[in-house]
């Protein structure tokens, strides 16, 4: 993974890219996470499943430094998410169901903005390369408002991997996409699969298992099932049913 490696020199090469220990989060009186621990090795792909309100998105937002943990330690690319937020932010990219793009800016202006924010040295070459890759070069001077949902999501991927992050966080990236856009998204994900470490939150068991090297099921703020290896899709539905009582929404 030569591209991913030059993002930031990690303090120690052997440590996992993501290390979460006894993570808890309470919004006031409401406890959302009650002690979650997991590791993701370099190049791994973790899929997180669980019912609505289980704490999946909160977990992802804590990894992304958008939300502060109440207790526990979170390390991303060897840096503590609370104490060393800046290098963590430099090491992560995020793809969520909203594209995080400014609709009144063109594709190029959006990418240029983020390239400047991340301090990219080879800004224009990198933008050109990525626009090619997500097949949007012909629309580079059009404002994003005129893009279809699928095009926006493709551009969102370009935005997320612009600064060659070591870790990519995916928050239900498939939601709201039409089948063709889903295909394009899956194609792109498969293409960049080898370049990053992934954490994906999803409702779709099929999508979640396709690429996963490990899975985690969260329910009521706790990890109710974890598997370090790949999981057989045909057996997983039963596993999920067994650990999650439908309707037990925290």
């Amino acid at each position: 993974m030569p591209e991913a490696a030059d993002t930031a020199a990690a303090p120690s090469g052997a440590a996992p890219d993501i290390e979460v220990r006894e993570l808890t989060k309470a919004f006031g009186r409401r406890e959302v996470l009650r002690g979650i621990s997991f590791d993701v090795e370099r190049g791994g792909f973790l899929s997180i499943f669980g019912p609505n309100g289980a704490g999946k998105t909160t977990t992802l937002r804590i990894l992304a430094t958008l939300t502060a943990p109440t207790s526990g330690t979170v390390k991303v690319a060897g840096y503590d998410a609370r104490e060393e937020a800046m290098p963590v932010r430099a090491a992560i990219g995020m793809i969520s169901h909203s594209p995080l793009l400014y609709p009144d800016l063109t594709a190029y202006e959006n990418l240029r903005f983020y390239a400047d924010m991340y301090g990219l040295g080879d800004r224009d070459e990198r933008i050109a390369e990525l626009l090619d890759r997500v097949e949007l070069s012909h629309r580079r001077y059009d404002v994003v408002r005129t893009f279809s949902k699928g095009m926006r999501q493709r551009l969102a991927i370009a935005r997320a991997i612009l600064h060659r992050p070591r870790v990519l966080l995916l928050d239900e990236p498939h939601s709201g996409l039409d089948p063709r856009a889903v295909d394009i998204l899956d194609g792109l994900l498969a293409e960049i699969r080898s370049e990053h470490t992934f954490v994906m939150v999803t409702h779709s068991i099929q999508k979640g298992l396709e690429l996963a090297t490990q899975v985690l099921i969260i329910d009521g703020g706790k990890a109710v099932f974890a598997s370090a290896g790949g999981v057989d899709p045909s057996a997983f539905t039963a596993v999920y049913r067994e650990h999650v009582q439908e309707g037990s929404v925290a």
């Binding site: 290098p87 932010r89 800016l105």
Partner: protein, 227 residues
């Protein structure tokens, strides 16, 4: 690095606004309408000299026009969840504050560049051109205060349920000192009257206000924009 990010945020906001012009147009319309309304509100008999009221009219108008802009400057970040994208970047939150503040300052200044000549031509009967430099200084210092405090409070209010409804309620009572100082300085300049006390004290006061709230924002912005 911080400089490049500052420019990037400012550039993005300027491009966006100059392309859509939604904020500038609404601010401009508001200012012009306010002028007409003030004219009818204060003209109690024929040929009244409104010179003494122009300072107050101007600053009341500018503060409400600034409110329109301040609300917009964060609404667009919140609308498309773009704020998350901004917060994901390895950027000091204070850089975001100063970039947003500068953007708001520029938009307010654009509006004033149109409104001040119009207001003074319509209302000010005395010549004040000799005092133009000190007037511009008053405008700059008052604008800085409005935008420093306003940007900080707009950040807080956009993260609440009420969003743009909350901003005037929290912003207006806090900005009263700037309103008083700027109004009394402006009225003194337009009327050439000495009964309003020395101008220097008001300029120093406005500058102190700017510094205090920029420092306050510097210390608290991390909390204001999100965890």
């Amino acid at each position: 690095m911080g400089g490049r990010q500052f420019v990037a945020i400012l550039r993005k906001d300027l491009i966006r606004e100059l392309r859509t012009k939604e904020m500038l147009i609404s601010m401009f319309l508001f200012v012009m309408l306010a002028m007409v309304i003030f004219h009818y509100a204060f003209t109690v008999k024929e040929s009244v000299d409104l010179t003494y009221f122009t300072g107050g009219m101007l600053w009341v108008t500018f503060i409400f026009a600034a409110l329109l802009g301040l609300n917009r400057s964060f609404a667009q970040e919140k609308d498309e969840n773009c704020l998350d994208g901004l917060l994901l970047c390895p950027v000091d939150r204070v850089t975001i504050f100063f970039a947003k503040m500068t953007g708001n300052l520029i938009f307010l200044a654009i509006i004033q560049a149109v409104a001040i000549p119009v207001f003074t031509v319509f209302f000010v009967k005395h010549g004040y051109y000799g005092r133009l430099p000190s007037f511009l200084l008053v405008v700059l210092l008052a604008d800085l205060g409005i935008c420093a405090l306003g940007t900080l409070l707009a950040t807080i209010s956009m993260n609440t349920r009420a969003r743009d409804l909350l901003l005037p309620i929290v912003f207006l009572p806090l900005i009263v000192p700037v309103l008083i100082a700027a109004t009394s300085a402006t009225t003194a300049i337009f009327s050439g009257g000495s009964e309003f006390g020395p101008l220097g004290a008001k300029l120093v006061f406005l500058a102190m206000f700017d510094i205090i709230f920029m420092v306050a924002a510097y210390g608290t912005y991390d909390f204001a924009i999100g965890e």
